[in-house]
Symmetry: C2
DNA sequence: CTGTTAGCGCTTTCAC
DNA sequence: GTGAAAGCGCTAACAG
């Protein structure tokens, strides 16, 4: 392996000069500089980021732990994080907890051990408190992404889930729906909790018939859906996330019901290219890429100014109205 | 920061004993071991992976460079890579070239500088030859994923694109289609080239009317599609990837044509949850997750036994037949 | 079974 | 404007 020593020898300078040429950390006479650059080219030298990191005590890298890389919304966030990190010449270390608290803790510890300069975290339900302690102990800045918690000393980035759901449901109420079903999912997940609260906000006044289907077990959910749909006590279904929407759509299809003819339907996060397919589904869309991007920016800002109270950023979601909620079109 | 020296002092042993306890690299008397473990707990010590990597000259990490993280197929591959890397206690460094050769080269160099133990690469079109040179020079094992090249000394993992396309198109010919349109996309990308070749294989014998729409410019593609569809000279459209399918579906919709009534349609890679939406699209599905997984396994194997000829692995794709090609259902 | 010690390749004082 | 040298925290001979 070719090291700075080889370059220095060839250029008849010290390693410190090579280092300063490489990093532009102090003035170097043009002639010297040129000899060094030349020597680097001849030897094919490349800086060793590991040694550099050890010496400088920073790695120019950030760690990202997501709870479920297979969900499109998270994939987009990962993309946003990668892109923005790259812009700032930071390398991304990616880990996936798969919604498993143990794996999450292991991932966080691994990344801390690798001395990432900062950490971005979409925590999983039942996330261990030691995750937070580990990060605090390591004195590494972190930002929580999407899944927000009250009790943390960290910056946070999320979307206006509660308000978006309130508006979505309010709209359905305006259209005259009085028998609503919310497929709420695992409300231990803050995002889901917020969406659920938004639903309650919307229905608080006019108090329509409503069923809220909580719980994380898909089989149980399917049964609940079947039951609710069969009795015909529902005119509008709202799913709080894509996987929940899949379950709901399957149940609706299996029940032989038509959207929007028999039942109105809307979801959060949704599906790609909804405009190309039927039913075209009304969707509350997260600015997932931007959320990832914002998380990186917050992290880098915090790296510059470690002091100060934790910040919280809520990005606006957009409601894409489509024919699945246009039941007069039937 | 607490280091091994602190632990050693507290446990009244040398740092080498601490190291050996930590890594299990030599027998340590039970009483000593316990003292060390105790001291580690008391101090809250965590191994510094950076220092360790520098000393051992391996990082227990692998680098992944994908060409477009926003395509679902790639997102799945990333997921497969992450999962499998994690199983082997390897950390994943992720970079995204965004189909830009310069960014790709930069990403590869960055990852090599970080001394990844191996590299997985989905190269972009017009990928620079220096990408390969850099990797060879660094003597880092690599495996090419999805996008395959003849001229490389690396292991490769892909799918049987050519054969799958041949079968897909043969099926359409059997159904009586004689006016075919292939939306082939950027055939500089090997994957696209292979799919295109499979199309030619299938039509070689019976020589139906066929149009092959190549090119990477979306606007140009849209114009070509409009033209081909307007003249009514097409009874079956095949798209070679998801983005191409999007363009095609938009054109078909804008032309007021119905699938499968007016026109049969099939695509590669496709959309998530195709069974929930209309038109339900016949799709050749890549085992994307498995491809990522296989790439990691090949890489680790190569790490163990660096010698030997490059291997090539082709995973089987599956053809999911749906109603978009069932034109008798009209 | 355990300790001493020489670095891994780099950055950064400090001195000239 | 440049160089000498001291480590960053760890592993792995080597020696006992």
């Amino acid at each position: 392996m070719v090291t700075m020593v080889d370059v220095a020898r060839l250029a008849h300078v010290s390693t410190s000069t090579v280092s300063h040429v490489l990093n532009g950390t102090r003035p170097v006479e043009e002639a010297t500089r040129r000899r060094v650059v030349e020597a680097i080219a001849r030897t094919g030298y490349h800086q060793d980021a590991v040694a550099r990191a050890l010496r400088r005590a920073r790695t120019d890298s950030i760690g990202l732990v997501v709870s479920d890389a297979s969900e499109p919304a998270f994939a987009e966030m990962v993309h946003g994080v990668e892109q923005t990190a790259d812009t700032h010449r930071m390398t991304l270390l990616l880990a996936n907890s798969g919604e498993d608290p143990d794996r999450e803790l292991r991932a966080v510890r691994t990344l801390l051990g690798r001395r990432v300069d900062g950490l971005i975290l979409a925590r999983c339900p039942a996330s261990a408190p030691s995750v937070i302690h580990s990060i605090v102990d390591a004195q590494v800045p972190a930002v929580l992404l999407d899944r927000l918690y009250d009790d943390t000393p960290f910056d946070q980035v999320s979307a206006d889930n509660r308000e978006s759901m309130r508006r979505l449901v309010a709209h359905q109420l305006e259209r005259g729906h009085r028998r609503l079903l919310l497929v709420a999912g695992d409300t231990r997940v803050p995002t889901m909790r917020e969406r659920c609260d938004g639903f309650l906000d919307a229905t608080a006044d006019c108090r329509p018939d409503q069923v809220i289907l909580e719980g994380r077990d898909p089989a149980e959910r399917a049964a609940g859906l079947r039951e609710a749909l069969r009795t015909g006590s529902v005119s509008c279904v709202v799913a709080a996330s894509t996987p929940l929407a899949v379950d709901a759509l399957e149940a609706i299809r299996d029940q032989g019901l038509l959207i929007p003819g028999d039942i109105a339907f809307a979801t959060f996060d949704g599906f790609a290219h909804s405009d190309l397919f039927k039913p075209a589904i009304t969707t509350v869309r997260q600015p997932a890429f931007e959320m990832g991007s914002a998380a990186v920016n917050m992290l880098l800002e915090r790296l510059r100014t470690p002091a100060g109270a934790p910040r919280m950023l809520r990005l606006r979601q957009t409601i894409e109205l489509r024919s699945s909620t246009e039941d007069h079109l039937r």
